[in-house]
């Protein structure tokens, strides 16, 4: 055991605290090249990360940067600065602490580069930006430690891949750098450790005492949940009762739109005028900060929120977490529950509220998984190459580089440890020339190889553009929403551009819990007025729609196999029993397909349990195949567990439809033109540097100069289908919105064990699908037909002839 300096332990004693075993353990391992701490919230995780830094810096004599702390949230960096300041000042340690995020002023940033603090608190993007400067080596020289907070969250996104590439760069600049990761509970700690450590360094994992199991249950309500929908309006009275019984309640939702509707309904029923706030990523920053501040002061009894509160500042007084809608993912549920009661060793309290009948099953399955400590998660895929392309450009911005050395350096990053040289070379080629089959730009290469073999920017001014486009976070095209006033009214938040385009003056929608009336668009700002008397249209936010995890889907299928369901509410158990009697319940090793007529049309219900994105893709691919074979499909709708297709002809032999080779071919050919693929392409092309982010100024001026990225995709598909970015787009399509990987997994699991059941009417399990929103019409010419009908109507209304 290494002795923690007495003035630090004395300070702990003064506060009436003691050093936790995992904090001591982390201190003992402070000299190891990499170490990962897994601890629940409230376990003194941050302090465990910083103790060695405080001890080393406390001895004095260290010049310049010693420790870099990286967190996914700007707010967290600022919060940690305050929290660290207290012990440092009270113990009297000679340590300078500063934060550096997108919000830091330019002068301050400049000074930090010339005269860095001992401890720098920052974000992955700001750190990557620092490595892009020519003086990076000087600024980072002597840095000893890097602490990556909330590494479990970073490891799930490209931000984490970018961070690990930046760490590889730092490690070259500061060979003595030691790495520390701080993580919430995860299903596969080894994977996070491999992600963090310099390949092939070992990384010890310190597991803190996870504390007592959470107190978690389903919310009991008078009313039964409805058959479909995601609003959970039926539960409002019961939720209000819970808010009254607790000090502070966090009410989590899966999407921003659902949070808005729920908040609106909650407010209408809030007869006691309890102080309740709303918090999500599309709200104006000042408004979010106001809610956060009120929360910290303890002024609010409840906050309706989304994943925007998954991470971040410790809310001391939260004593209840309510999850509205099925949690989709057990690990995230456990992490959310951890937001309640941050006192170490006190159980967190949480309630689940299913939004509809099927979600009752899913919630019960999730409860069982939490009790069994059975967390879910997908194995981490290899580091994506769009992030790699950006990293090569960042390296070029910092100065000339040697390709062999850069390759050696970045394969020391966990996510890129298995990267092949030819893969890297393709990315370098893309950065240098665009990598097109048509060698058009050799004269104007972005990167050029000098006679000495080093690569450099042809035009040094390009470095500035690279820095401006740095980062992997996708901003969708959103427009600001403001109250209409002569001098520009109060900003309320943002809506998606596509949603704004669908509005006509007089339309109403919800934002920040208020109903507003659309007045018009001025200089790319949506102007609105408050309007409380009309039923709102709903703002559409792009907030990620999570698919139910594979593990949770499996658990549901295992539950279906039970002879009866004592753990389910009576109404839900009866529903499943009726399904078993009328048809069959889906099984894990088989694929159940029901075929039945309804309302004059033939229906096909495919219970793939592959998650909503994969089920959606399956709908697109199957209807295309059905169209080719003359089954005349008319449309489909998908949920996390099934796809319902309707059409003119009944399917009698499903096997040819589920041929994996044919489906894969559909992905390569037909689905290639799909909007989802184009969105996927756009994200990767932006990260890789083919599409530049729009600045605020460009957004304001007219749009003539910019054109849709869809045109680039269509052009590549036609003239250069094997281009690197098209390869990356196909790789991305295996996950995310297209999620073809889960279709492949399902088909390889079931093989030819397909059961087609012909029923004379709708089955109980299929019935809710008829009520689902988001039906997709299957008509290649759908848009053209809509256009023709609508234009004829408009012309007629205007008293004009059609031609």
């Amino acid at each position: 055991m290494t002795q923690i300096p007495s003035r630090i332990t004395d300070w702990f004693s003064q506060k009436g605290w003691s050093i936790h075993p995992h904090q001591q353990d982390m201190f003992d391992r402070a000299q190891e090249p990499a170490c990962l701490l897994i601890a629940p919230t409230g376990g003194g995780k941050t302090m465990a990360g910083f103790l060695p830094s405080l001890a080393e810096l406390g001895e004095g004599g260290h010049d310049g940067l010693h420790t870099i702390y990286v967190s996914p949230l700007k707010a967290l960096a600022a919060d940690i600065k305050r929290n660290l300041r207290t012990p440092v000042d009270e113990i009297g340690l000679p340590i300078r602490i500063e934060d550096r995020t997108g919000d830091t002023s330019a002068t301050r940033k400049k000074r930090q580069r010339a005269d860095p603090p001992h401890i720098l608190l920052t974000t992955p993007e700001s750190l990557a930006l620092l490595t892009s400067y020519e003086d990076a080596a000087r600024m980072f020289s002597g840095t000893r430690r890097i602490i990556v907070d909330e590494i479990h969250a970073l490891a799930e996104s490209k931000r984490g891949d970018q961070l690990m590439l930046a760490l590889a760069r730092l490690q070259t600049l500061c060979p003595e750098l030691r790495r520390v990761g701080l993580s919430a509970t995860v299903e596969d700690p080894d994977a996070i450790a491999r992600f963090l450590a310099r390949h092939p360094d070992p990384c010890h994992i310190v597991q803190a005492d996870p504390g007592p199991d959470p107190d978690i249950a389903m919310l009991q309500t008078e009313e039964m949940p409805p058959w479909s929908g995601g609003g959970a309006a039926y539960a409002i009275p019961a939720v209000l009762e819970q808010i009254k019984k607790h000090k502070t309640t966090l009410i989590f939702h899966n999407t921003r739109a659902q949070a808005e509707i729920f908040f609106h309904n909650l407010w209408l029923a809030n007869d006691d005028a309890l102080p309740i706030g709303i918090h999500h990523g599309s709200l104006e920053r000042q408004q979010r900060e106001k809610v956060e501040a009120a929360m910290v002061r303890g002024d609010l009894r409840a906050i309706v929120c989304t994943g925007s509160l998954d991470l971040g500042i410790d809310w001391g007084d939260v004593d209840l977490v309510i999850q509205i809608g099925a949690p989709k993912n057990v690990k995230r549920l456990v992490q959310r529950i951890g937001r309640a009661n941050h006192r170490y060793n006190a159980p967190s309290k949480a309630l689940l509220v299913p939004a509809n009948r099927f979600e009752v099953v899913e919630c019960v399955a999730a409860l069982e998984a939490v009790k069994a400590h059975d967390l879910d998660g997908d194995p981490r895929a290899a580091g994506p190459r769009d992030v790699l392309c950006q990293h090569i450009l960042i390296a070029a911005a910092s100065g000339p580089f040697d390709a062999d050395m850069l390759y050696a350096e970045l394969t020391s990053a966990g996510p890129y440890a298995a990267l092949r040289r030819d893969s890297f070379d393709a990315c370098l080629e893309f950065c240098a020339t665009g990598g097109y089959a048509l060698r058009a730009y050799d004269r104007w290469q972005r990167l050029q190889q000098r006679p000495d073999g080093l690569w450099q920017l042809r035009d040094p001014r390009a470095a500035q553009r690279i820095r401006m486009n740095l980062g992997t976070i996708q901003d969708t095209d959103t427009l600001k929403v403001r109250l209409k006033r002569s001098r520009g009214g109060k900003p309320l938040g943002e809506v998606e551009e596509a949603f704004a385009a669908s509005l006509t003056p007089g339309d109403t929608f919800l934002i920040g819990g208020q109903i507003v009336r659309y007045e018009g668009l001025r200089e790319m700002v949506v102007e609105v007025n408050r309007r409380a008397d009309r039923k709102p249209k709903i703002a559409t936010f792009s907030g990620t729609k999570f698919a139910t995890s594979t593990q949770l889907s499996d658990r549901i299928l295992r539950m279906f196999a039970q002879p009866d369901w004592p753990q389910l509410p009576k109404h839900t158990a009866e529903w499943l029993a009726l399904q078993r009697q009328m048809s069959r319940l889906p099984q894990r090793e088989r694929l159940l397909i029901e075929s039945f007529p309804n309302d004059g049309r033939e229906h096909l219900c495919v219970y793939g349990f592959a998650g909503r994105n994969a089920q959606q893709t399956l709908g697109l691919l199957l209807t295309k195949r059905m169209e080719e074979t003359g089954l005349a499909p008319l449309g489909f709708v998908a949920t996390d567990y099934a796809t319902l297709i309707w059409g003119l002809e009944a399917v009698t032999d499903p096997r040819p439809l589920f041929n994996i080779d044919a489906l894969r071919e559909g992905l390569d050919t037909w689905l290639a033109g799909n909007a989802v693929m184009k969105r996927t392409f756009r994200a990767s092309a932006t990260i890789a540097g083919l599409i530049e982010r729009k600045t605020a100024g460009q957004k304001k001026s007219g749009r003539q100069a910019t054109f849709s990225s869809d045109i680039l995709y269509d052009t590549l598909l036609k003239y250069d289908p094997d281009h690197l970015l098209m390869q990356i787009t196909r790789e991305e399509a295996m996950r995310g919105l297209v999620d073809f990987g889960r279709i492949e997994a399902m088909i390889s699991r079931i093989g030819d064990r397909i059961d087609l059941l012909r029923l004379d009417r709708v089955s109980p399990l299929a019935a809710p699908l008829f009520l689902e929103v988001g039906k997709v019409p299957v008509k290649g010419a759908a848009e053209e037909r809509l256009l023709a009908e609508e234009s004829a109507r408009l012309l007629q209304a205007a008293g004009l002839a059609a031609q």
């Binding site: 020339t433 665009g434 097109y436 048509l438 058009a440 730009y441 104007w444 972005r446 042809r458 035009d459 001014r461 390009a462 553009r465 596509a498 385009a501 669908s502 006509t504 668009l521 540097g689 083919l690 599409i691 530049e692 007219g702 749009r703 003539q704 100069a705 910019t706 054109f707 849709s708 045109i711 680039l712 052009t715 590549l716 036609k718 003239y719 250069d720 281009h723 010419a781 848009e783 053209e784 809509l786 256009l787 023709a788 009908e789 609508e790 234009s791 408009l794 012309l795 205007a798 004009l800 059609a802 031609q803």
Partner: protein, 235 residues
């Protein structure tokens, strides 16, 4: 006028998708591709080709976009010529993204332009991107008058019977919950503004003040696409 091409009878027109309309007494046809066809004069008019755009961007230190835009634009133009058997082609300005781009055009693209020019009258109207003559065949003019119609790049305040481009107009239509936005022809009693024909071109909404001011009165928008449609111009 003297027809330069031979044997192009009106029966040879094989357009699939178009909207016919009358403008200043002339029967005109808006093609789904964004080209304008004047059957009586056998004139095909296209605007804002912006050939060489990707080359210009990369030359100026921008990103290296897929270098297939000029080829794609010319391929579409060749198809319209094939279908129309036009005797005169008017490129309504901004045919090249800049004058250097006209010189840097790959040999294959130059050859295709020459092939399309063979046997036709070809008029390059100057635009703000290509304000001088280009080193390619055809006539270079700042504007051109035929009958009651005048062709120029940018609409003038008092133009009558004026056909222009420049603004890359687009119009959108909300139909059953989805918004469909397309490059569009804008037309009223006195002027007609063509959509941009080039592959890498964006659009300016017809609700924008500058277009709304030009297109007063009973203006209409013709949305391009595989089934072009005419609507009252959204304001």
């Amino acid at each position: 006028m003297i027809p330069l091409a031979t044997g192009a009878s009106s029966s040879k027109e094989r357009f699939m998708n178009f909207v016919d309309f009358t403008f200043c007494g002339q029967a005109l046809r808006a093609l789904g591709s964004g080209a304008l066809w004047w059957p009586e004069q056998r004139v095909l008019c296209v605007s804002d080709l912006h050939l060489g755009k990707s080359e210009r961007i990369v030359r100026r230190g921008g990103v290296a976009l897929p270098p297939y835009d000029s080829r794609e634009t010319l391929t579409r133009l060749a198809a319209d010529l094939e279908h129309s058997q036009a005797e005169t082609v008017i490129c309504l300005g901004d045919s090249f993204d800049d004058l250097d781009a006209s010189r840097a055009l790959p040999a294959q693209d130059r050859l295709q332009i020459t092939a399309m020019q063979a046997g036709r009258r070809w008029i390059w109207i100057e635009g703000n991107h290509d304000p001088g003559p280009v080193e390619l065949g055809g006539t270079h003019l700042s504007e051109w008058v035929l009958g009651s119609l005048v062709f120029r790049h940018i609409a003038t305040a008092d133009g009558v019977g004026e056909i222009s481009g420049h603004y890359h107009p687009k119009a959108s239509l909300a139909a059953k919950g989805r918004t469909i936005s397309r490059p569009a022809f804008l037309v009223n009693g006195q002027r007609l503004i063509l959509p941009a024909y080039g592959t890498y071109t964006g659009g300016l909404r017809c609700t924008d003040a500058v277009l709304a001011k030009l297109m007063t009165g009973e203006a209409q928008a013709i949305l391009t696409g595989s089934n072009p449609v005419k609507i009252p111009m959204p304001r």
